[in-house]
Structure formats: structure tokens, C-alpha cells
């Protein structure tokens, strides 16, 4: 088969700049083959190389005492959780594939992150996701939303991975470019950590899993371009097709194989498929690797070396086996009826050599390809729109005279409304570990013996002590758009508050940086500043970042997305008694607010960037609430102390929609069963509060505030404790009855909780009907 000649046009079509191509020529000392050009193109895409973000990522805090595998070392970070156990977790985007083919795009996003976890030797036991769409009033958005949710459900449900939490926001900026970020967490024993290293010169290299096809050709390169009008038509072939059944078998077979000790190194074939897995494993081990494409199982006849190397067919793994132990691979993969093939060997040349049809089609230095991608310091310039944002004041924005009406509208606003339409499609209970289901501030899962990967037969098993993990994923993209630095901090702090509200202590963060085109200095400013905020907030909390994913070029012809650095945070709960949820528990309990009613020095009283301004006044502007780190850390610590003290019955973070929405949500418990809501009323007395706008008091989003309940008898004690620890706290009211009653200095309103619940619970289903 004749290969195309390497011309400047062909180089440009591969998204390599003339400078980058010059570098390829220097590395090779000759013109690349067509296959080599494809390989450099995907390995040096942003998705694989982080070439635009690497200098910024280096500023993030990645060190911590419990870190067993740190950021950037391997496919996922790993943190100690005590008793010889550890968690591996990571978040990754599948935005562009989902924009083009929502069901398969989202499904394979879940598949990819699952493989990142079991590649590390961990058993995947929980998933979350962070999704962004345009507004549901658009039929095209409803199609994307519905396709993405069913794609995630399809893959996770079939695999048997409980999807325990997540978040969904709807905003016009994501209309042509939805965000689909998939998180997965696995557990393992310290001794079970597997590495993606091609160690041991002479060791055989195995390919396991289904055959390679022409699907997903160069998906990583596609993910690193702006979406255009033509994307849907031209790029559909770049979207992979997922088979969760196959993934489940591959996972079980790999975990079983890892118990034998026959594995020297293991890596999934994710982005850039065979290319990335071979050159990265060799680069990590400082070795070389030689493979023979004629031995790679192929789904289509006459595939070219370019196609085989760049295919992103799913559910495939690369395994380096200790020489002499090949039969064990064969035995286990035959048991699971999975295809396998020995395709090459580890060498000491430092080169990645690929043969096909008796010819050498690739011969490149593995480490230079994997680790020496060009790095760019992009130009950054403060966006012009920020001047107007900062100048925004309330002139001409009247205070509300209809607070109940506003509350009802906010509760039914899709971003705030219950996401049960989404999570009831996810199996969130499989594996018998889900203690707190989707719908509370953080999901909580329980780890038990069968959560762990298998061990070799005959190994004496130590009893596995129960472990409780809390996890959450958060980011208010509007805040980041309106103030990238404060918004970045706020995303981290909200995640920390959500964990604190559930009774957990944070262990680590994985971040998914979704931004627009980095070549635009104003858009790069958003990236740079929000990362500075994330770094500062993580440092203030003492919580390390263990890895993550960058997704740039998120823009469609309609414009860039709101910058959305999604923060997934995982924490540990010391014992069952500390598990805390957001809903009110008993009649007569005292409702308290820990934190300020409204941040005292904010001229916008917490309304800048608020859901209220967006929904009621159509304004997406104003400086968002300041996120002072000292206050945020203090709140997390106080909450932890109060929960450990045993007095707190419920805790709910105030976020979008402010205090009134938080209180209403706390009136809604998780339903006992289908069509059986569990509701509880409350009376809130704010009649002595004066000097504040009503809308700011009820719907302002000042940071660092939590609504908690305690028994009436302990209310005074809890307020005193919070004050002694340096925070403001006050009693807001009492739990009881079937209505929500709110007394203000300007009057009072009352509404059956059942009515609020109906609007909140069914809002998305009604829009999707």
C-alpha cells in the first residue's frame, strides 16, 4: 500500500505547526513516515502532552503525606486510607466525542476512566460525573442531555459500577459544546499497585482485549481542536464505540492476572491507543519496545500501520509479562474468553520500533516522543468583559417583592432542581456499598472485603476493616467566568464544604480543566487565573491534587464555554456515627446557620453571578462572592469539630440559590421509595434582620455558609462552640410541620413543602417530557 507523501499540507492537517514539525525532523534526523507523523500528531496533541498547560500544572500542590502514586506519574494517583488500603481515583473529559455522538461519546468516557483505574491494579467501585449542557428549552440540547445520560448509564450499569454522585449545570455557553467529565474511584491494597512500565529487557508484550478496528482514529487529536459546524459530519468516525460487557471481562481478567505476579507492567490503550501505551510504558521504564503489527488482532481487513497505531478501539490493554510466564496470561484470558496476542518485546534501545508486513514503519526514541513534546508559555491578557463585570452595581435592579415566587422558580430551575431524572437512570446501588445515594451534598460509599481486587489463591487474608469514603464534584463555571481566580478557589472550597457537611476529612483532589482555545490570550487568562485559585485553595486546605485531565478548545461557533475547572474531592469518614446528610431529621430540632447571613464587605451582598440574578433578571454579571481562604478553611474545621462532637443532625452547604434554596432542600429527604417523598416543614425567623436587600438575604450566595440542625437543647451550645472557634453562627428557626414558613422584616410567607418538592423533584422530567 502506498503511503501519502509528507507535504506541508499533510503536516498542517495533523495539527503540527511548522516549528513542531521541525522538532520532529531534529528528533528523527530524517523525514517521518506517514505513520510516524500520525504518532507525533496524537502524542503532541494537548490531550496527550499538556503542551499548553504543563507550566501551569507545575504550580499546583501535588505533594502530601498519604500519596502513594502522585500526579503525572501513572494513569491515576493513589492515596493511602490506612490499614494497608488505598484509593485510586481520577476524572477525565469526553467533551468533544459527546458533542458529536452523545451516547457513545459519554459511554466511552466512562470506559476510559474505568481502565485508568483498573490499570493501576485497583477494583473500580464508584463513579461520578460532572456534566454541562445548554438550556433544556432547546430540542438539540435535550437530545444531547438525554443521549449523554443514557450513554453513561449504559456503560456504568452494565459494568456493575455504581454511579453515586455528580453535578449537572445548564447554561447557554455550553450549547454547542457540552462537557462530560467522568470520575472513577477504585480501591486496592498497598502491595497491589500496578505500574505502566515496560520493564525487563526481553520481556514479551501482550495485547489483550477485542480486536482493533478503524473506529476512533486519532480521537486525541480531535479532542484538541475547536468544534466547528462540520465537526458532527466529519468527526463522527473519531468517536469510539464502547462495549461495557467486554470491559467488565477485561477488568476481571486483568485483576486476576495481576494476582499471579506474572505482570511486569500494564497500561490501557486509551487516547492514542497502541501508540500511547507502547511509547509511554517504554519511556517510564527507560527502555525500548518493539512490536509487530501483523500480530495485532484486527477487526477490518487491510488496515494500514497508521490506522492500527492510531485506532482508539475500546477495551484494549497492553501487558508486559515476565518472560517464562506467558502461559498464565493465556490461561486466564482463555478462561474469560478474551482475545490475546503476543505482539512484541521490551528492548534496551530506548526506541519504539514498529514492524508491519516485514517493514519497519516506525522507529522513534520513545522518551522524546512521550515526554519531550513542545511546551508553550501562552500569552495571557485580562479579558475586556471583566471591567464591566466589576463595575456592576444594583442600579436599576429592584429588590424582590415576591420572594416565594422567586424561591419556587429557583427550585424548578434545571441547574438547581433535583437531578433524579438523571441519577435514577444510573445503577447507584450495585456492589452493596452506597451509604448515601445521589442527591445529598456528597456521596458516601462503604468499602468492605469484596470491594478489593482478588489476591492469589492461598494467600492468607487479613480482615478488611470497614472504610467510609465521601466524594463530591463541584464547579460553578459562572463564578469562574466572572472572576477566574475567585471562581477557581470557590470550586475547591465548595467541594471541601460538601465533604465536611458529610462528616468527612478530605484526602485529595482530581481536577478536570475544561477551557476554550488557549491561543486566545483572554481565554488563556481564565485558565491561568483559575488554576492559581485552585492551587491556593488546595494549599490552604492542605489537600493535594493527585492528577486529572485538561480539555481545551471547548468552544463552538457560538463562542467559548464558561471556564469550568471541575474539582472532584475524595474524603474519609472515620466512623459510621459521623455520617451526616443534608436533610432535616426530627420535629423540634433547631435550625442554625454557621457563617455570615451575608458577607459583610461584599457590595453585591452575595448576588454577583448568582442563580437569582441569572434567572430572575437575566443578568450573568457582577463580581461573584469573595472566597476568602482563611474563612473557608476555618468553616471546614469548625464543621468537622461540631460533627465529631456529636451534636449535628444535618448539614447542608449553601450554594446556588442561597439560604432559602438550601433550607428548602433540607426539607426534602431522599424518598422512601418511588412516589413516596419524605418531607419535613420548617419555620425560619429572619424578622429581626434589617439593612439587607430581601433578595440578597434569601438568595445571595455568600461563600462559607452551612445550614445545620441540632436538638433544640443543644442549639445554644453549638452556637457557642462555633463562636469560640472564631465563626459567626445564629439560630434561624425550627424544624416541624408540613409547611415552610419564612418570616422577614417585611412580612412572612408560607408554602406547603409538598408543593415546593413537586416543583423541584419533577422540573427536569417535565422539561424532558
Amino acid at each position: 500500500m502506498s503511503e501519502p507523501a509528507i507535504t506541508p499540507e499533510l503536516v498542517a492537517r495533523h495539527n503540527l505547526t511548522p516549528d513542531e514539525y521541525e522538532r520532529v525532523l531534529q528528533i528523527l534526523g530524517r523525514t517521518p513516515t506517514y505513520t510516524e507523523l500520525g504518532i507525533f500528531s496524537v502524542m503532541w496533541s494537548e490531550h496527550c502532552s499538556y503542551k499548553n498547560t504543563r507550566p501551569l500544572l507545575k504550580t499546583l500542590p501535588t505533594k502530601g503525606t498519604g500519596i502513594l502514586v502522585g500526579a503525572g506519574e501513572e494513569n491515576a494517583g493513589i492515596i493511602d486510607i490506612g490499614d494497608g488500603l488505598a484509593v485510586a481515583f481520577k476524572i477525565e473529559s469526553h467533551n468533544h466525542p459527546s458533542a458529536v455522538e452523545p451516547f457513545q461519546g459519554a459511554a466511552t468516557g466512562v470506559g476510559g476512566i474505568l481502565r485508568d483505574i483498573f490499570t493501576m491494579g485497583a477494583r473500580p467501585i464508584a463513579a461520578m460525573n460532572s456534566l454541562r449542557f445548554g438550556e433544556l428549552t432547546q430540542p438539540s440540547v435535550r437530545r444531547l442531555f438525554s443521549g449523554v445520560v443514557s450513554g453513561i448509564a449504559h456503560y456504568g450499569n452494565c459494568f456493575g459500577l455504581p454511579t453515586v454522585g455528580g453535578e449537572v449545570y445548564f447554561d447557554r455557553s455550553y450549547e454547542g459544546n457540552p462537557l462530560v467529565n467522568a470520575f472513577c474511584l477504585g480501591v486496592l491494597r498497598h502491595g497491589q499497585i500496578a505500574r505502566g512500565k515496560a520493564t525487563g529487557v526481553g520481556n514479551p508484550v501482550f495485547y489483550v482485549g477485542p480486536a482493533t478496528g478503524r473506529d476512533g482514529l486519532a480521537g486525541a487529536a480531535f479532542a484538541s481542536q475547536d468544534l466547528t459546524e462540520e465537526s458532527a459530519e466529519h468527526q463522527r468516525g473519531s468517536v469510539q464505540v464502547g462495549d461495557p460487557f467486554m470491559e467488565k471481562l477485561v477488568c476481571e481478567a486483568c485483576l486476576e492476572l495481576l494476582t499471579t505476579g506474572a505482570v511486569a507492567g500494564i497500561q490501557d490503550m486509551g487516547a492514542a491507543g497502541l501508540t500511547c501505551s507502547t511509547c509511554e510504558t517504554a519511556a517510564r521504564a527507560g527502555t525500548g519496545i518493539e512490536i509487530e503489527l501483523d500480530r495485532v488482532p484486527q477487526r477490518s481487513p487491510r488496515m494500514s500501520s497508521y490506522e492500527i497505531m492510531l485506532s482508539e478501539s475500546q477495551e484494549r490493554m497492553l501487558i508486559i509479562v515476565h518472560r517464562g510466564r506467558e502461559a498464565e496470561v493465556q490461561r486466564i484470558f482463555d478462561k474469560w474468553d478474551l482475545p490475546w496476542a503476543e505482539i512484541g518485546t521490551v528492548t534496551d534501545t530506548g526506541r519504539m520500533v514498529v514492524r508491519h508486513g516485514g517493514r519497519v514503519v516506525v522507529d522513534v526514541p520513545a522518551a522524546k516522543l512521550a515526554d519531550e513534546a513542545p511546551v508553550y508559555q501562552r500569552e495571557s491578557k485580562e479579558p475586556g468583559y471583566l471591567t464591566q463585570v466589576r463595575a456592576f452595581r444594583f442600579d436599576g435592579v429592584p429588590d424582590t417583592t415576591q420572594p416565594l415566587n422567586v424561591l419556587k422558580q429557583l427550585l424548578a430551575w434545571p441547574t438547581i432542581a433535583s437531578k433524579n431524572w438523571v441519577y435514577r437512570q444510573y445503577d447507584h446501588m450495585v456492589r452493596n456499598g452506597t451509604v448515601v445515594s445521589p442527591g445529598s451534598d456528597a456521596a458516601i460509599i462503604r468499602i468492605k472485603a469484596d470491594s478489593l481486587p482478588p489476591v492469589a489463591e492461598g494467600t492468607p487474608l487479613k480482615p478488611v476493616p470497614e472504610k467510609l469514603l465521601a466524594m463530591t464534584v463541584d464547579c460553578n463555571g459562572v463564578y469562574v467566568y466572572l472572576d477566574p481566580y475567585e471562581g477557581g478557589k470557590a470550586a475547591v472550597m465548595e467541594a471541601a464544604r460538601n465533604l465536611a457537611c458529610s462528616g468527612a476529612t478530605a484526602l485529595g483532589v482530581t481536577d478536570n480543566l475544561n477551557f476554550a482555545n488557549p491561543h486566545n490570550p483572554e481565554l488563556f487568562f481564565q485558565l491561568k487565573e483559575s488554576l492559581r485559585g485552585i492551587g491556593d485553595a488546595c494549599r490552604a486546605l492542605g489537600v493535594p491534587i493527585t492528577g486529572g485531565n485538561c480539555s481545551l478548545y471547548n468552544q463552538s461557533p457560538a463562542g467559548p464555554i464558561d471556564p469550568t475547572p471541575t474539582i472532584a474531592m475524595v474524603g474519609l469518614i472515620d466512623r459510621r456515627e459521623l455520617i451526616t446528610t443534608q436533610s432535616f431529621k426530627n420535629e423540634g430540632d433547631a435550625i442554625l446557620l454557621v457563617g455570615h447571613l451575608v458577607h459583610p464587605s461584599d457590595p453585591l451582598q452575595g448576588l454577583g453571578g448568582s442563580a437569582y440574578l441569572q434567572l430572575i433578571h437575566g443578568l450573568k454579571t457582577g463580581t461573584p462572592p469573595t472566597c476568602d481562604l482563611e474563612g473557608g478553611v476555618q468553616l471546614v474545621e469548625v464543621l468537622r469539630a461540631l460533627i465529631h462532637g456529636g451534636s449535628i443532625k444535618s448539614a447542608h452547604d449553601c450554594s446556588e440559590g442561597g439560604l432559602a434554596v438550601a433550607i428548602a432542600e433540607a426539607c426534602f429527604q431522599a424518598p422512601a421509595a418511588l412516589a413516596t417523598p419524605q418531607l419535613m416543614g420548617a419555620t425560619i425567623d429572619l424578622s429581626t434582620v434589617t439593612g439587607l436587600r430581601t433578595d440578597a438575604l434569601l438568595f445571595g450566595e455568600s461563600q462559607h455558609r452551612v445550614v445545620v440542625t441540632t436538638s433544640a437543647i443543644e442549639a445554644g451550645k453549638v452556637i457557642a462552640q462555633a463562636k469560640a472557634l472564631g465563626l459567626t453562627a445564629q439560630r434561624l428557626g425550627t424544624v416541624g410541620g408540613s409547611d415552610l414558613v419564612i418570616r422577614l422584616s417585611t412580612g412572612e410567607f408560607s408554602v406547603p413543602v409538598a408543593e415546593l418538592h413537586d416543583g423541584w423533584w419533577n422540573a427536569i422530567a417535565r422539561l424532558m417530557a
Binding site: S150, N157, C158, G160, F245, V435, A672, L674, A675
Partner: protein, 230 residues
């Protein structure tokens, strides 16, 4: 008491069934689909999941596996067999239980708690379930809409083969409390001989208060009671 829990490729509630048996103080063993012996088990659980990827139809491929031949023989000799979720689908496909399970009427997968009314308390799968109190159990399925022809339904009714119906908190059946459009809100049935039963909800996921309900124990304890009495 020894349960056998079948393990097909992509069974995913196999471990949950073993765990549930253990929580109840019994032992359970996983049996690989290629095996053709039940290894002396007292009762068989066909667990939930997506056996063989649910290709073709849910349960359609699993019924041909070697282990299912052993289960059919075990059932023919009066052995106790309980199918949960995908296991229920497999037992229907294998002809061990009447009826069929088709796509949920919503066309969506559903995972949530439901209330269940137990219609008979004199069977080997329900004897330990308290009367007049709906069970709370989780469901997690995309194809749980029970279907049987009007003639079959009439037979099921006269023979008392309907064991469980979806209902509300007061034990009343209604469209609102039927999560998948099952005919007559049927959630589970028993064979004519009374030794094979299946249901879509998951008793295996409801054995500890920590996870929200322990009502599933009543179902599993009914099996135990039946085996130990014989």
C-alpha cells in the same frame, strides 16, 4: 446452609448475593458458568447483572450455558432456585418461569427504591415475610416490564403464581407506583411446583440498615427456613 451463586460473564451482582448470604450468617459459593455441577448447594441464586452483555435479549444467551443445564435438573428435582433481576430474566428465558421481561415502559433504566406487596406468605420464598407490610427493596433494571398474555395471566392468578406486585406505601397498586409498566404491577412470580421464583427488585441489596433497608432479609430467610425445615 450453602447457597450457590451463578457467575456468568458480566454478572455484576454475584458478589452482592454472596455478601447478602454471609450477612445472614450463611455461606455462599460462586459457580462459574462453564461448570456443569452445582457442587451440592442447598439453593441456587441466579444473580443480577448483564450476563453475556445482554446481547440478543436479556438472559437469552445465558440459558444455554452449561451451568443452566445443571440448574434445570436441580429445579426438576425440586431444588430451590431464586432469580434476581437479570437472574429472573434468565429463568424466564430458560422456561423455568412463566412470562417475559421487556423494555421498561419509560424506555429508561430505573434505579430506585420501590414498595412491594407480597401476595402469598405460604411459599418457600415468602414464608418469613411479615404480613400486611409492604417490603422496601431497590430496583435497577432497563428491562423489567413483566409481560404475560391474558390467558397466561388468568392461569397465573388461579394458580397463585404471582408472588409480588409493585405498590405504594399503603400496599395499593397503582400506575404511579409501578416503575416499569409491568402488567398488573407484577414484580415477581413463582413456578407451578413452587420451587423456582424470580423477581426484578433486589433483596440482595437490602440486608443492612446502613444501606437504607434490610427487608431483603425476609426473602432470603424464607429460602433458608424452607431448606432447614426439609
Amino acid at each position: 446452609m450453602q447457597f450457590a451463586v451463578l457467575q456468568f460473564p458480566a454478572s455484576n451482582c454475584d458478589q452482592d448475593c454472596v455478601y447478602a448470604a454471609q450477612v445472614l450468617g450463611h455461606s455462599a459459593r460462586l459457580l462459574w458458568h462453564k461448570s456443569s455441577s452445582l457442587a451440592g448447594a442447598d439453593a441456587v441464586i441466579v444473580p443480577g447483572g448483564f450476563s453475556y452483555g445482554d446481547y440478543l435479549r436479556c438472559g437469552a444467551i445465558a440459558r444455554f450455558s452449561p451451568i443452566m443445564q445443571a440448574v434445570a435438573e436441580f429445579a426438576a428435582q425440586g431444588g430451590l432456585v431464586l432469580g434476581i433481576c437479570n437472574g429472573f430474566q434468565i429463568l424466564c428465558e430458560a422456561g423455568l418461569l412463566p412470562g417475559a421481561l421487556i423494555r421498561n415502559r419509560s424506555l429508561q433504566f430505573r434505579c430506585e427504591m420501590v414498595h412491594l406487596k407480597t401476595l402469598r406468605h405460604d411459599t418457600r420464598f415468602t414464608s418469613q415475610i411479615p404480613a400486611n407490610q409492604p417490603l422496601r427493596l431497590p430496583i435497577a433494571h432497563g428491562e423489567g416490564c413483566y409481560y404475560a398474555s391474558p390467558e397466561e395471566l388468568a392461569l397465573l392468578r388461579t394458580r397463585g403464581q404471582i408472588l409480588w406486585q409493585y405498590c405504594d406505601a399503603n400496599g395499593q397498586t397503582s400506575d404511579e407506583s409501578n416503575p416499569n409498566g409491568s402488567v398488573e404491577s407484577i414484580a415477581g412470580v413463582i413456578n407451578e411446583a413452587g420451587n423456582v421464583a424470580g423477581l426484578m427488585p433486589h433483596p440482595d441489596r437490602a440486608v443492612e440498615p446502613l444501606l437504607g433497608s434490610s427487608d431483603g432479609r425476609w426473602v432470603l430467610e424464607s429460602l433458608v427456613h424452607s431448606v432447614q425445615r426439609n
